[in-house]
């Protein structure tokens, strides 16, 4: 059993998240094995192209159930970009497709009053309840976002055509709409804090 595993969802680009973790001294396994996802000390759910395809990939290998179990048990999980969206109940990107529903949020497209996709660095402001998230600039690449933080989670917010959820955390579970692995030293420091929280959990 590996310490840290990354869920292979099919079309996700894993090179950057792998490189980021390697710089922090972690060599994760990449897997589609539900048992590995269930048992690993820490799991990374990376972003994939689209909500519908992402959920289909998670169901295909039985990984969806393992992720829901982990989240319910409060075991270490990092969800990146679309990963954060997959934890929600539903998304405008794939009407009728159920998400992992770890929380009851709904994901909606950015308004046309701003550039879509949001590509670039946006300022992240954590709530007082955040333990892992700190203020700073993070790199985003998304067309959809969660507008409201679900109950029971500490949140960080950014603004692009109105406030949206930049990240959520609950114990050793961290979900980032941005890419920590592409957010410079600030992002690597966040990954490092999550890894430390995962080791202590």
């Amino acid at each position: 059993m590996s310490d840290v595993v990354i869920v292979r969802t099919g079309v996700a680009n894993l090179a950057s998240v792998l490189a980021g973790l390697r710089r922090l001294g972690v060599t994760p396994d990449v897997t589609t094995d539900a048992a590995a996802v269930r048992e690993a000390r820490a799991v990374v759910l990376p972003g994939v192209g689209a909500f519908g395809a992402g959920m289909a990939a998670l169901h295909e290998h039985g990984v969806a159930a393992a992720l829901i179990e982990r989240a319910a048990a409060g075991r270490p999980l990092l969800a990146v970009c679309l990963g954060l969206q997959l934890l929600a109940a539903s998304s405008d990107e794939a009407p009728g497709v159920a998400g992992l529903a770890v929380h009851d949020g709904h994901v909606a497209r950015f308004p046309d009053t701003v550039k879509v996709p949001q590509l670039g660095w946006n300022e992240v402001t954590p709530d007082a309840g955040c333990r892992l998230l700190e203020p700073g600039y993070a790199y985003f690449a998304n067309s959809y976002r969660l507008t409201d933080a679900p109950l029971g989670w500490a949140a960080a917010r950014s603004d692009h055509g109105g406030p949206f959820v930049a990240a959520l955390e609950r114990g050793p579970i961290l979900a980032c709409q941005f890419h920590p692995e592409l957010s410079g030293p600030w992002g690597l420091a966040l990954l490092d804090r999550w890894l430390a929280a995962a080791r202590e959990a």
Binding site: V11, D112, L182
Partner: protein
């Protein structure tokens, strides 16, 4: 609020940086990883790596270059140059690119954009548009093959089509301005960035921080520059400080 991005561009041929990066203190200015590390440390928001290799052998080196740069870089990396197939795009993304930039192949077969966007997502599908002012009237036409071939296609209409086909970002280069050090083509930038709702990266002609400020005021979401950083005394940090001093939001 989303910050405006400053993006240095590295031209790489056969795995080596060309157009001479003149960083003081770099023992090997042709090493792409050394240049990438330096740009990130200076505050670059992203990096574009343009493979200008003329041969398939040279292109083979590009994958090694992308892997090596990815290992040291913790900001986004866009790779372009001679991209012809979805498989090639996939190989670059597997090697560590976060976005791929397509150009001539998309002009020849616009459905290439749909295929890249569908397979990898719009956020990774950049279309590089090279535009030149028409010789016979107002407006701009799309040019390919490093500006050697004028296609006659309207650049604004092409920008709209790229976005409609799923491109998440346009890298817009003015071939009238490229290399002139006289600033970006601001009219072109205004026309394209008001025609599409995806971010537009301005390219071609910058020699001074004032040029970058003008481009952002004309609607660019990001500014790409090569020679201003390679040859002049402006660091990325100095340029971003100049932007911030004018009230433009940049990542600090």
């Amino acid at each position: 609020m989303l910050a405006h991005r400053v993006i240095p561009c590295l031209d790489v041929k056969d795995g080596r940086v060309v157009k001479g990066v003149r960083f003081q203190g770099l023992t090997d200015a042709g090493d792409p990883t050394a240049a990438a590390t330096r740009y990130e440390a200076e505050g670059a928001d992203e990096l574009v790596l343009l493979d200008v290799s003329a041969t398939p052998e040279g292109r083979g080196h590009a994958l090694d270059t992308v892997r090596a740069v990815r290992a040291v870089l913790s900001i986004p990396l866009t790779v372009g140059g001679g991209l012809r197939t979805v498989e090639h795009a996939g190989a670059l993304l597997d090697a560590g690119a976060d976005k791929v930039s397509v150009n001539t192949a998309a002009v020849r077969d616009p459905s290439f954009i749909d295929r890249v966007a569908t397979r990898f997502g719009s956020q990774c599908a950049v279309v590089a548009i090279d535009a030149a002012r028409r010789l016979d009237g107002p407006g701009w036409e799309v040019v390919v093959h490093s500006g050697h071939e004028r296609t006659g296609a309207d650049a604004i209409a092409w920008a709209r089509e790229c976005a409609a086909r799923g491109s998440g970002e346009l890298l817009l280069t003015s071939w009238d301005k490229d290399g002139t050090k006289s600033g970006y083509d601001l009219e072109l930038l205004r026309a394209v960035s008001s025609a599409v709702n995806v971010p537009v990266i301005a390219s071609g002609g910058a020699a001074h921080p004032e040029h970058l400020i003008e481009a952002i005021e004309a609607g660019a979401s990001a500014v790409l520059a090569a020679s201003i950083f390679h040859y002049s005394e402006y660091t990325v940090g100095a340029v971003k400080a100049a932007l911030a001093a004018r009230g433009i939001e940049v990542r600090r």
